[in-house]
Structures are given as C-alpha cells and as structure tokens.
Amino acid sequence: MKFALFVGCKIPARVPQYERAARSVLGRLGVELIDLDFDCCGYPSRHLRLDAYLALACRNLAKASARHLDVLTLCQCCYGSLRHALHLLRHEPGVRLAVAQDLAKDDLDLSETTNVRHLLDILARDVGFDRIRANVVRDQHRLRVAAHYGCHALRPSDVVDLDNPHAPTVFEDLIRATGAAAIDWPRRLDCCGAPIAETNPALSARLREVKLADARAAGADTMCTACPYCEAQLSPAAKDAGLSTLLYPQVLGLALGIAPAKLGL
C-alpha cells in the first residue's frame, strides 16, 4: 500500500496536527507515504475560473501519475477537487486537450492514469477493519462520537466515491472500530458552513451552530471530522456547544496506543 500523500494548503497552515496524526497512524498500519512536490489542489480557484482550477489540479495528477502512484488526500475538499478534475479529464475531451497543452510547458503530461483516494476510504477498504481492530490496544469506549462526514467526499456521487451519499456508514464503522460509540444524529450529512466562512460569516456561523447543537442534543460528547476545513470551522465553537472535536486519525491513533504528542494532541 503506497500512496503519494497530498497534504494540501490548509493543513500545514492551520491544522498541522492532522498531518502528524495521519502519518503516525498510517505508518503504524503499514501504509507507505511518498511526498511529492504538489501544488494547490485548485479548490479555492474553482470559484474564480474553471481553467485556473484545472491547471492546478491537473498538475498534481500529472505529478502523481508520472510516479505511478495513486493520490491519498487528507482534506476532503482536496479530494473532491482532484476527483472532479479526473472526472472532467475522463469525460470531456475538450478539457483533456486544453489541459495537456498547458502541462506540456512544464514537461508534465497525463499519459498515465492515477486515482485519488481519501484517508477514510483507504482505512476502510485498503487497510480494512480486521487489521484496524487487530491493532487496537486502547479501546476508546468512553467516547460518544458524532461523525461529521463533510460534503465533498460524499457528493456528487458520480464524481467522488466514499460511500452511499444518502445513507453512508463508513465513518461510523471506522469509529466503532476504535471501540468508541458512534451516535446517530439527524444533521450528520449537512454542510458545516466552512466554504462561506469568509464571504458570509453570519450564515456560516449559523450553519455551524445548528450542527453542533444537533450533535449535542443527540448525546455526543465528541465531534469527529476528516477534513481540515470542517475541523477549523467546527472546533472554535465546539466548546461552547459542549463538545470537543477530534480528527479521525487522532481517535484512531489513541486507540492504537500511539502517544498523544505524535497525534498533535
């Protein structure tokens, strides 16, 4: 199991503990991570110009495919962004042509194919629940966790491929694998509001508020995310809502007996 790790922009800048925890956990579970010189995934550029977004996203795909590696993203926005680019490349010939010309200037090309996966996907399907459970040494039974799926790994389901977008179970399954209780809560598939945090702070805060309140009302004490945008959006307000936030590799890491310092805790 070898992947090109795509850390993205948000994690080193604002949520570095996610990378640290992910590396520790994946290392323990036997997943090899290769570091390539990636650019931005293009997600922030997509709302300005499509060609700008594609230029950035496809450079990354080309770099990974040149090394015959699939991409493993930690951020769900990166995941959605790169998957969208793949989708457009595969299904719209005009896009492929335009992008190829662009990449050629930097000696990059897309002759190979590559796939883009997310951390949760890798853990559930490549590593597998049996292996995870076999490595758990510290059952997290005291945690009552509300899984926040985020948007861009679930939808649109013809582009991304984490789970059934209407009734996903993979995140709860992964949480249960650590021994923690996974709470069912009505708003678990709703958007956290992060994408409009700067452009419409009031609305963004309301979206966050209703989510946190809902999780609390359902009996959770922890909100678990697998995306730095979601984490950065939810964690500042979580304490007031009576919740703590954790990134999934942190929960898993604790269960695997990894030292909290290595998980960014």
Binding site: R90, P156, D158, H166, A167, R187
Partner: protein, 435 residues
C-alpha cells in the same frame, strides 16, 4: 473502490430503479441474504406523499371508493384480468407489506401497521383520500377526521401551496368545527418564502418546538386536536409529535402536502438506510446505458459520464425503471418504447388513442395504462406472449394495464410485484445452488 469491483463475482440480483418498487425489491432481496446491487437516483420517492395506497378506487369511471382494499383487489383482479393484481396473491402482498413496514420501523420511520382497511385522510387541497398505510402522524389526523374532532388547522406564512383556510373551506360540509390559524414562523420572521423541509429541520430543535407551541397555545380554545402541514421533523418525527401533543394537551397531526414533501424526503431517507443496512451495493447518480444478456449473467454498462463504476454483472435483473418521468418508458411521436432492453410495450394502437379529448375524463387516459406485460412471475413477455428471459423481471409503475394514480394502487403494485419477483428469483437461485 468501485473501479476495482467491475470484474468481481456477479451479484445475485441487480435492481434498476430507486422508486418504491426498486427499493422494496432491494429490501426484500436483502432480507433473504441475496447479494444485491441497486442502481438509480432517489427521484420518484421524493415526490411521494408518504402514503402507501393498496387499492382505493375502482372502477375509476364512477370513482367508487373502497374501504376494504382486499375486496377491492379481488374485484380488480376479476374485472381487469391483465392488471398486475391478477397475478398476485393477496396473502403474499399482505406479507410483503408487513415486511416493508418492519424495515421502515427498524430505521425509525413510524407508519401505522397495515391491516384490513383503508383509511381516509385529508389532503392539503382539502380533498379526502383513501389510503392503506400511512405515517403515524397522519393516521392521527385520519382519526380526527373520522370523529370530526374540533380541530385547529395551522399554516405558515410563506409556505406555498398550503392554506389552512382553503382546507377548512373545502371540508366545511364534511368536517365542520375546523378553525384556522396562520403563523409567522420560523422565529426570525420571514419576508419571503419558507419551505416545508426547512421548517421540519428547525422543529428538530427543542427550543424551536417550544416556541411554536407557545405561538399556537393561545388560539386553541375549544379545539381538541391540532393539524399542521407535514413539517414535524425530517427525522425524529414520533418524538416531535408526541412532545408537541403533550405540551398542547391534545393530539397533533400532519396533513400530507404537495411534492416535494417532507414525508417523501423521510421515506427516501428511511429506505436508503434500510437498503444500506442490508449491505446492498448502492450506485446513485448513474444511468444504465446498455444491458447485455450473457449465458449466466446480465452485464449492465453504466453511463460513463456520470459513474465511477463502469459496469456491474448480476444473475438476475429487475427492471423497476418507472414510467415517463424516470425514463423507464419513452414516448415519441409514434409510439411508446422501453428504452433499455427494447421490451414490447402494451399500448393503444395509435397515438391518437393515447389521450381522451376531455382532460378530466373520468375513465382516465389510455396512455397511463400503457406499459410492460408480464407473466405470473412478473417477467416481461414478448408480443407473442412468451417470457422474454427467465431471469429478467419488471415491477412497479412500468407495468401496463394499471392506472395507479387514479386507482390508488401504486404502493400495492410496487411492493407486490417486487415481492413476487424476489420470491421467484430466490427460488430459482436456490435451485441452481442445489444443482
């Protein structure tokens, strides 16, 4: 994940379609431990009113309404020999209904237990509708209607296509003692529109419910029941209804609304969860573009532009692709065809005969009764009457010789045909396994 699955073992059954028929087939197949894949968008379910009709009106020309759906079913089977009900046993249909009801109950969607009779409910248009199985919160309203309980009907400013005054006026003779109340809700006050789903979401929050109760309380007077549009939560409906009932001191019920309605969203959600719980492989946002029948399996090619999975293979294929809106049937200037496998469609001899000249003709229109003809196991038949393929099934609205909207038999046809198909294919799979 999906890219690796294409060459894996064939599924026992593939269901194309995610309406009630398709979902029922997936649930029933899952219950029997069959490896199932289901393809299709959650489309038709979103338009559901939330009520399951078994058999309501027959004959449609005279609008005869039946309180005993089983008797009605027998009458239909006798009068319309090609109707899907003629190929089903009432016992099997009863059991299938219960199985679906259990599945919904298990994922927290509370419907009244289906029994022997139809139930009359008030709709958002003020009309009375006959149905068989419906959400608990609506069943309470049916009781109020039957007993003519003095009721306060509440509506919300900005919520379109729902008027409490309209309902009360239309029902005046049948249900006197209805009063109405219009509220400005959600609490922030609204200048524009509001949508049922959003009201429903906000009522999942205890404080908001309390606020709504406070707004209603002063206006109760002699009312002994409160009727709201169907907005009591996208989930947790039972809790919301019971708490509000407790706080208001009287039953609170829901009245079904126009699509896209909250009960439809709840139903879609619940069926998706039920299907997921049975480990059915679910492919959303994809259309099947081509079906190839090989010796032992069917190969389904999926729309390359919209799918992360190129194709799937299954031993049995169940077509639950619906009618014109979902694309199960396609009409052009000349004829109606079944686009996926080119199955023959029973239809009027010419296009001129599709519609009556009177839009509101009591008999309905012939085009609505067009559809696939099937054998007693719900396998499509060709023009000569021969079963097209032993492991190909067609269920639900795509079937011909039924007019489910007028006859009020939609859910019954969907669930019954799904059950018949699954029973047959399970038996055949068993046989092959045993050699």
């Amino acid at each position: 994940m999906s890219d690796r699955e294409t060459m894996s073992d064939a599924y026992d059954v593939a269901v194309i379609g995610a309406g009630l028929a398709g979902m029922a087939a997936a649930v029933l197949a899952g219950n029997r431990g069959l490896r199932t894949v289901q393809i299709g968008n959650a489309g038709a379910l979103l338009f559901s009113s939330g009520m399951f009709d078994l058999m309501g009106v027959h004959p449609v020309e005279v609008l005869r309404s039946w309180s005993d759906p089983w008797a009605a079913m027998a009458a239909v089977a006798h009068d319309i020999p090609d109707h899907p009900y003629a190929k089903m046993k009432a016992v099997a249909l009863r059991e299938a209904f219960l199985e679906i009801w259990h599945a919904l109950d298990a994922v927290g969607l509370a419907y009244n237990r289906p029994g022997d009779c139809n139930i009359e409910v008030v709709t958002s248009l003020g009309t009375i509708k006959n149905t068989y199985c419906l959400p608990q919160t609506m069943a309470t309203g049916a009781t109020a209607l039957a007993e003519r309980t003095p009721t306060l009907l509440v509506d919300f400013e900005g919520l379109r296509e729902y008027s409490a005054r309209g309902i009360a006026a239309t029902l005046a003779s049948r249900w006197p003692g209805l009063r109405t109340l219009r509220l400005a809700y959600p609490p922030a006050g609204v200048a524009g529109e509001t949508y049922a789903a959003h009201i429903a979401r906000s009522l999942e929050v205890t404080e908001n419910r309390a606020q709504l109760v406070e707004l209603i309380q002063p206006h109760l007077k002699e009312a002994r029941a409160v009727g709201l549009p169907a907005v009591l939560g996208l989930s947790r409906t039972a809790v919301i209804a019971s708490e509000m009932s407790r706080d208001l001191g009287m039953p609170v019920f829901e009245i079904p609304t126009m699509p896209t309605s909250v009960p439809g969203l709840r139903l879609k959600d619940a069926l998706e969860r039920a299907v997921a719980a049975r480990h059915v492989r679910r492919i959303v946002q994809s259309r099947v573009t081509e079906v190839t029948a090989n010796a032992d399996t069917f190969e389904l090619c999926l729309d390359a532009g919209r799918s992360t999975t190129p194709s799937v293979r299954a031993k049995n294929l169940v077509l639950a692709t619906g009618r014109f809106m979902g694309g199960g049937l396609v009409a052009d200037r000349n004829a109606i065809r079944e686009p996926l496998m080119n199955l023959p469609v029973a239809q009027p001899a010419s296009r001129a005969a599709w519609h009556s000249t009177d839009l509101l003709d009591a008999k309905g229109h012939a085009v609505n009764r067009a559809g696939l003809e099937v054998d007693e196991h719900f396998r499509p038949r060709d023009a000569a009457g021969k079963t097209v393929h032993p492991r190909l099934f067609a269920i639900g609205a795509i079937l011909g010789h039924q007019d489910w909207t007028r006859m009020k038999c939609g859910a019954g046809v969907a669930i019954g045909s799904a059950a018949a198909a699954v029973t047959t294919l399970e038996r055949d799979l068993d046989r092959t396994r045993r050699g």
